[in-house]
Symmetry: none
Subunit: 502 residues, 2 copies
Amino acid sequence: MDSQEQSLIQSFMRRSRELIDLKSVLEILTWDQETMMPSRAGPFRARQFSALSALYHQKLTSPDLGETLERLSTEELGLWPQAAVREMRREHEKAVKLPEELVRELAETTSLAYGAWVEARQKSDFASFSPWLEKVLKLKQEEARCLQFSDSLYEALLDHYEPGMTVGRLDELFAVIRPKLTSLLQQILSASKQPDRDLLKGKFPAAQQEAFGRDVLTAMGFQWDAGRLDRSPHPFCSGLSPLDVRITTRYSEEDFCSSLFGMIHEGGHALYEQGLDPEHYGSLACDGISLGIHESQSRLWENQIARSRAFWDHWFPRLLQTFPGQLDHVSLEDFVHAINRVEASLIRVEADEVSYGLHVILRYELEKQMVEGDLKVQDLEEAWNTSMKEYLEVVPSNSAEGVLQDVHWSMGGFGYFPTYLLGNLYGAQIFHQVGEELPDLEESIAAGNLIPLREWLGQQIHGKGKTVGAEELIEQISGKPLNSDYFLDYLKNKFTPLYGLS
Amino acid sequence: MDSQEQSLIQSFMRRSRELIDLKSVLEILTWDQETMMPSRAGPFRARQFSALSALYHQKLTSPDLGETLERLSTEELGLWPQAAVREMRREHEKAVKLPEELVRELAETTSLAYGAWVEARQKSDFASFSPWLEKVLKLKQEEARCLQFSDSLYEALLDHYEPGMTVGRLDELFAVIRPKLTSLLQQILSASKQPDRDLLKGKFPAAQQEAFGRDVLTAMGFQWDAGRLDRSPHPFCSGLSPLDVRITTRYSEEDFCSSLFGMIHEGGHALYEQGLDPEHYGSLACDGISLGIHESQSRLWENQIARSRAFWDHWFPRLLQTFPGQLDHVSLEDFVHAINRVEASLIRVEADEVSYGLHVILRYELEKQMVEGDLKVQDLEEAWNTSMKEYLEVVPSNSAEGVLQDVHWSMGGFGYFPTYLLGNLYGAQIFHQVGEELPDLEESIAAGNLIPLREWLGQQIHGKGKTVGAEELIEQISGKPLNSDYFLDYLKNKFTPLYGLS
């Protein structure tokens, strides 16, 4: 590498670090808004957010940066710098296509729409939210148009979250999955062996739920000196840097499951973020590969691990101690069946592993139609309820447990939902390989030792950052391209004995 | 106003809003660092902070902004826009006078000097800190020279914190105050009626301290939907906007006073910040007038109100209920005397209302001499100990409880200390007028109603922002220029009966 190349790379890395620093500050603003910010501060926070977003956008779209990227993209730079340049180029090229005014308007509108969603959900009043959703949708359609991505507006938005994924591929995958999930769901619902609904009922003080959750997170390897756990209305994980990873949860004192599995889920995301190499902070390659791969980590910990019999061999006695008198009458066997209870329910985040995919496919179809202009916001709630009836045979009795339940659309997150189901697919395919490579895993988990799994995931996935793509990673790990068989086999193998299916 | 003027103002306000938004984000980063950030995240946070600071500095020093300000400063704009322009011009002109190299060196040196101070204080070793103090001092002298402010280098630094205040004025005020405080202190120390040292000892759980503090803050009119209370190692108040004002405290379970009066003190600052007019957020005029005026609010609530007999008429029974069995043996009278105990102590932040001023004057004199080149850092500790003996008749037995006790100098905060005593003077002069205008105030406070006071302060001070200067405000309120009589009379009237002085 000659000295001109070197100074070019140095100048690029300087810009890259500044951009990542600003991005991280934007993340802090978001985290703070959802966990800490006083309720009346919203409008000024929106302004602060939009001022900073605009600056980020200006820096990202600088023609100087574009030139540097162009020159560097023909160089042989080695794995990490090459990925840093590739990812920055991707961001830069997208950003230059978006007018500053649109970016500013989107930031401000989504921040306000989020507030409107919170209020509308509280009041279960879709009508008060729908003007905001219309505004957000219109701006996102405009964004998709500006990106000139493909024939599909939706695909342009999907690409933000799952680079390389196409609508065609999703349609194909989901077309296989949907009928199989529906059929498995029907089999399970009509099985004679059903878990007891009331088994997990009790009084579970939030403080003890939190303490138990913290113990599990610690066992998973969550690093508390590089992270936090707080409360927020909608649980999330925010990676401000590999040394500052924050997860949130919410507690219901009648139901410890929702918070516990939520914490483990976000903990799976957090391990990914904490597993990124801090040496590379300041490079866009120091990030999760895609939302789908990210979700594979959270799902794997939540479902394959924390809903397994082996996991509770170790943790069940501790759970009984944590909530004296609440679960003493429950056997471990019945407990494991109960936490894996399958039902046709209304709320996605509380859905079981079988019906969850149907919730996602429903949202994917609706948002795709909205973005493509085939479904109006005013007709959304009816379409939602109709699909719920068709896929899950249940109908929400109000907006809060229906179309208003998720935060994503208020924040402009069209194209986000499918990554949840992709996460299940990736997760099952990865976990299959874990089983091949760590034959003692089940014993280790049953003994409360989760670290071998964390280390394997760290080496095979987390530490690689974005030096590989999603498809490439899955092929590296399993030797095969992504397919839905692993996921469907996993469900069948798990639920057949649980429910005594034939 | 013609359309050209109007568009000039609009362009100015756009820049102003952006700068304030960025400033506010910097405040969030600081608040987060002190209250929430995981311990290992420090180095990345420093980078995020410095990236954003650099952007702020670039925007503030932009020649375009300078031109706009120059053109607007000759226009008749009305009270608020005029103040917005004046304050921004002040900031801009200071910023452009400072070479980037000096700003960078100051940031770096003070950051390292702060670390050296922490370590030196732990080891009580002034010698290891003094080379750092010399470096910081030299850079601050250079800064003062660059600002080309007046004959006095110190005055240039003082002006950062207390605009309009002069060294001549401070010398004059402090020359009157010092002997009178010394004499009052001597009278009190030799009085036969002394409060019982051990009266306030007990076990005070942090959760109950917090609950009690929150009740008091609520009664003061702190708006919880526009603010928060958290914990941090050093208590502070952070006004991110008038609708987002955050205070912090720390709890000692053996001593409820330190946290309670600390919360009320920060609460006084917070009421000022919440009392700013949100309509004007985005203008530099929407801010506290000076550190001295800000401190007048915190001191007034902490001392004139919360250390008064009337205040405890209402709150003492509640305090007893909050900490059952801890203070049952204490009479209200003895309690009020105990929370007003005067002593010649070594530590400024623990000093009472009488001796506090002497701590400040000592620091003012020493730092002024250092900045003007009349006192060498190597002679500072001896000078400190000599003054302590002279003013307070106590001598530190080591550097930690002497010259190393305060953080300010390590961070380059020369000129900050006098604003603490000015706060007392402003506060007493303002409170005297409160007494004239709200004759029923004492009864109202004794009945637990603090709102009339808050409203008066809001109207007379908070809502005005920086549309007036400190001197002007004091004249507006009391009809007289700032003088020390009000403060000295207040102390005499309060402590004469408490200590049975003649």
